[in-house]
């Protein structure tokens, strides 16, 4: 696979290499549905965010970055583990976790994926093996640990993490990468390089716009791609996941993409002027859904009416998710201290006898200390 960079993508103009020839209708429909479902979700949440101040937590929307999660959603097994950070809605849905549990979590309700304890940026769904958190770069190191466990147990499960390019600035990323390489862990890293960490451009923070090259030097297989092409994303992810699943070792995929919305919250942050207007325009003109629809139209597949049907179905799901969230109770009377920590040790309780106090001899001499 050729190595590309953000700069190279800009130079080569509007993307024209999306190829849908030979793909099954199921796949095309799946990719389309996944992208639109995520987009509609985010748009609906953005609209509802302020209406009655019901979503009282920081939310990092992901408009423009739908291609990768949509592709991923078609490739994961239920028993694979997926981790992500603050920008997690796409990954949550990709892991087939229910939209209602997502919305209810944002609304802080008991029926939320975490009973309203976590909110958007920290949402998890253990039953679906989906986990996220708002501290960079925990997703990456936790995933390495799960990959370690899968390998240890001889499972053919894969651990994955989806994250932004800034997460690679924390040293723990390089620790995890190095370790995964040494141990050939079944680990897939999915980096959505959207050029920015909040309002800071990648080139101010990293040696170059070629993260994959640095990763490759660690003996890890890398894939570098234009990130708004769902078909290319699908194919690369499939290859990487299979490679890791079969014991080939870790893979790192770098998807060059762009966040259209603000870093956080529903209002635009472009008044800060941290991104050139023509850059924003370029990426708007490379909207992954629009690119895909164009190709579909060109090939005469999945026509407007079929697509409208899909959208209608999604919108109904979204309505239901809002209703579910709004009709769910707020948590009350939670014993936070008990929820924070447990002293249960069920296995020990079952198998080991209690022994309360030994018989310590206070007259014995104190330790002789070794030099180290």
């Amino acid at each position: 696979m050729e190595t590309i960079t953000h700069a190279a993508i800009r130079q080569s103009g509007r993307y024209s290499r999306l190829k849908i020839e030979g793909l099954s209708m199921e796949l095309l429909r799946g990719l389309y549905r996944g992208m639109v479902r995520l987009r509609r979700c985010e748009e609906a949440l953005m609209v509802q965010y302020r209406v009655a101040d019901e979503i009282r937590c920081p939310v990092h929307f992901t408009i423009g970055q739908e291609a990768v999660p949509a592709a991923l959603g078609l490739l994961l097994r239920k028993d694979d583990f997926l981790y992500s950070h603050h920008r997690c809605h796409g990954y949550f849905l990709a892991k087939d976790a229910p939209m209602g549990a997502l919305f209810a979590e944002l609304f802080g309700r008991t029926t939320g994926a975490n009973g309203g304890l976590a909110g958007s940026q920290e949402i998890s769904m253990p039953s679906h093996n989906f986990f996220s958190g708002a501290i960079l770069s925990g997703a990456l190191s936790l995933a390495a640990g799960s990959a370690f466990a899968f390998q240890y147990k001889g499972d053919d499960r894969v651990a994955l993490a989806g994250f932004g390019e800034a997460a690679t600035e924390e040293g723990i990323f390089w620790e995890a990468l190095s370790y995964a390489s040494v141990r050939k862990l079944p680990l897939v890293y999915i980096c959505e390089n959207n050029l920015y960490s909040m309002y800071s451009a990648q080139v101010n923070r990293q040696p170059a716009d070629d993260l994959s090259k640095r990763v490759q030097a660690f003996g890890v297989r890398t894939f570098t791609l234009f990130g708004n092409d769902p078909v290319a994303a699908y194919e690369a992810l499939r290859e990487a996941i299979e490679y890791a699943r079969k014991g080939g070792g870790p893979c790192f995929l770098e998807f060059y993409t762009y966040r259209i919305n603000a870093h956080v919250g529903p209002e635009s942050d472009d008044y800060i002027n941290y991104r050139p207007a023509d850059e924003i325009e370029f990426w708007k003109s490379n909207d992954p859904i629009a690119l895909f629809e164009e190709r579909l139209d060109h090939a005469g597949l999945l026509g407007r009416s079929e697509r409208e049907l899909i959208v209608a179905e999604i919108d109904e799901e979204i309505d239901e998710a809002f209703q579910f969230a709004r009709n769910s109770p707020m948590p009350a009377d939670v014993d936070l201290e008990a929820l924070s920590r447990s002293c249960e040790s069920p296995f020990a309780e079952r198998h080991l006898p209690l022994s309360s106090v030994g018989d310590f001899d206070e007259t014995q001499p104190v330790a002789v200390l070794a030099p180290y």
């Binding site: 925990g138 190191s141 209690l354 007259t363 070794a370």
Partner: protein
């Protein structure tokens, strides 16, 4: 009645845990070759490199990888030769392990055991001698043990490995050679239960870790003067067995807290605080504490010796509340 050293007791607990469940794995720098002061000796020979694994010098990764492994059903035991090295792992401890139970709404179980050795003596110096049990006791969501004896080191370690909560066990290396009668079979000691190591009615000494042997020696000495000291070994600082302390102080009306840590904002402060909140007005004298100064550990032998409270310091603290 078999005696083991503290290090042997820890070693036996690890071996038995590895025996009891395939989910248990011991990870840490040199756990295969250095023996970690005898505590991991022979384990790799018996259980192989898969169960007892050396780890790169990446304490941060080790800890969060341990959590990722626990989420996938394992029970990792992470080992640090010094607590100081583990400070690199504060992010996974504070931002992930400790808050995960709450944030998952109680859905996730995280049986991660972190064993860490606290350096003392022979010029360990400021970078090899910290004991941050006070920090961990402040942090919600983790269990924290500071076992003082071989018997407790074994029972608390097994309890932790087969528990559900991230646990940090601090072992002071100056205790490793001390002996005690230790049952051969695996057994458990629940967290949150102080041990009453000596009964007495005149004064309560609530001690922790390396302060326990000192407290017992001094108590024995004072018994000759018919001063009966009740020595409590707190054993775990999270949870803290407040009831046992309160019951004892309600009886003796005098309190000394002996905590092997910097004085300010320490577990010793917490013990004095909760006793004062409940029983302050009932005390016969103002409580006091025996701690390290609010200073890092100096290297030079005479300074190091003066840094750590000794029998004399304990004695004078007890006398001050009588």
């Amino acid at each position: 009645m078999r005696t083991l050293t503290y290090a042997q007791a820890v070693n036996e607990a690890l071996a038995q845990a590895l025996e009891l469940s395939e989910d248990v794995v011991v990870l840490g720098q040199l756990v295969d070759t250095s023996g970690v002061f005898g505590t991991t000796k022979g384990l790799v020979e018996k259980f192989g490199k898969k169960r007892v694994q050396d780890f790169p010098v990446s304490e941060n990764l080790m800890t969060s990888a341990g959590m990722g492994a626990a989420l996938a059903g394992m029970r990792p035991v992470l080992v640090h030769h010094r607590l100081d090295f583990m400070v690199y792992a504060m992010d996974p401890i504070v931002n992930w392990l400790s808050l995960w139970r709450l944030k998952s709404n109680g859905q996730s179980r995280l049986p991660v055991t972190i064993r860490t050795v606290v350096g003392k003596g022979w010029g360990q110096g400021p970078q090899h001698s910290k004991s941050l049990h006070g920090w961990f006791a402040h942090l919600p969501g983790v269990n924290v043990a500071v076992p003082a004896t071989a018997h407790d080191a074994k029972g608390l370690l097994l309890e932790s490995i087969f528990g559900e909560t991230p646990t940090i066990i601090l072992e002071n290396r100056s205790l490793f050679s001390m002996e005690e009668v230790v049952p051969e079979n695996p057994y458990r000691i629940p967290f949150g239960q102080a041990a009453i190591r000596r009964r007495g009615q005149h004064v309560t000494v609530a001690a922790l870790g390396i302060m326990v042997p000192i407290a017992l020696r001094v108590a024995k000495q004072l018994a000759e003067e018919s001063i009966e000291v009740e020595v409590l070994d707190l054993r775990t600082v999270s949870p803290l067995d407040r009831d046992t302390v309160l019951k004892s102080v309600a009886k003796t009306k005098r309190l000394v807290v002996a905590d092997p840590a910097w004085r300010s904002v320490s577990v010793a402060a917490e013990v004095i605080a909760f006793v004062s909140e409940k029983l302050g007005r009932d005390l016969a004298s103002n409580p006091t504490r025996v701690c390290f100064p609010d200073s890092h550990t100096p290297m030079s032998a005479p300074l190091e010796a003066s840094f750590y409270p000794d029998d004399a310091a304990m004695l004078s603290a007890i006398r001050s509340v009588l």
